[in-house]
């Protein structure tokens, strides 16, 4: 049996045949980054301390919030679930460090780097384009910079993140849904 490492994996999702759109509004697929799904109990001090020590940042506690440090982003998805975006190369060592630090604590660290991909949509109409597919209230007074939410876009479940600056959104979607999401957004762009 041969071991497959992250560097052997193809870095394109189901929308591999689509080339990035650069214009008033832009859409592109981000390079593959490392992704860890972490389950644990936020009321257990050992878990919270271990997480903050290894990742060197505070653990976001309320669902749909995000903390950022360097290239790492830690999303809180629910009362007992977190999602880490990190540099692809440091994924294995981070997962290993977390597992060692959290040994004996009831939790799970799962690598899911190649299960999701991230599309970045930016431009003055980005909010309106997203409204075509998601029922979430994206008005800038409600969904502010650095807000994040798991929601629906068309038939796909997504993790939506409005970046800290400008009109740019990161949309994390399952690898196999990427093409569907891409074409949906492109068709929305055409009808602007």
């Amino acid at each position: 049996m041969t071991n497959t490492t992250a560097k052997d994996l193809p870095r394109t999702s189901s929308c591999y045949a689509r080339s990035a759109i650069e214009g008033t509004n832009s859409l592109r697929e981000m390079d593959l980054n490392g992704k860890l799904n972490i389950r644990g109990d936020a009321s257990e001090q050992k878990f919270v301390d271990g997480m903050s020590q290894v990742l060197e940042m505070d653990l976001p506690i309320s669902a749909n919030s995000v903390n950022e440090r360097g290239s790492q982003r830690l999303y809180c998805l629910g009362p007992d679930e977190w999602f880490l975006h990190c540099n692809l190369k440091s994924t294995d060592s981070l997962a290993q460090n977390l597992r060692e630090k959290l040994a004996g604590v009831h939790c799970a660290v799962t690598e899911v780097s190649d299960y999701y991909t991230v599309l970045r949509l930016s431009g003055p109409d980005a909010e309106g384009l997203l409204r075509r597919g998601t029922p979430l209230d994206l008005h800038h007074g409600v969904f502010k910079h650095d807000h994040t939410a798991q929601t629906r876009f068309g038939h796909a479940s997504i993790l939506l993140h409005k970046l800290a600056e400008g009109e740019a959104w990161d949309i994390q979607v399952r690898w196999t849904y990427a093409e569907y999401l891409w074409d949906y957004l492109v068709s929305a762009m055409r009808s602007l």
Partner: protein, 93 residues
Amino acid sequence: MLLIECPWCGLRDQTEFHCHGEAHITRPLDPDSLSDEEWGSYVFFRNNPKGLHYERWEHSHGCRRWFNAARDTVTDHVYATYKPGVAKPEIES
């Protein structure tokens, strides 16, 4: 458009949720002592009221957590949503 309040994510559109039937059905502590009729009633039979109904819901396109909701089956009005393990709230319909 019906908005449902997820106990963790707040108000969200109904299309993000799925309903999974009646809530607060307790598994019998000693199934061996039950008659076939009692077991059948536990497994298969559910209330189907016209009006207030306590249901289990799942925020399937969001945080994927389960919670309970008190909903009126006639008007679709959701009186309350609450976390699992919490006693059912008294609702005057």
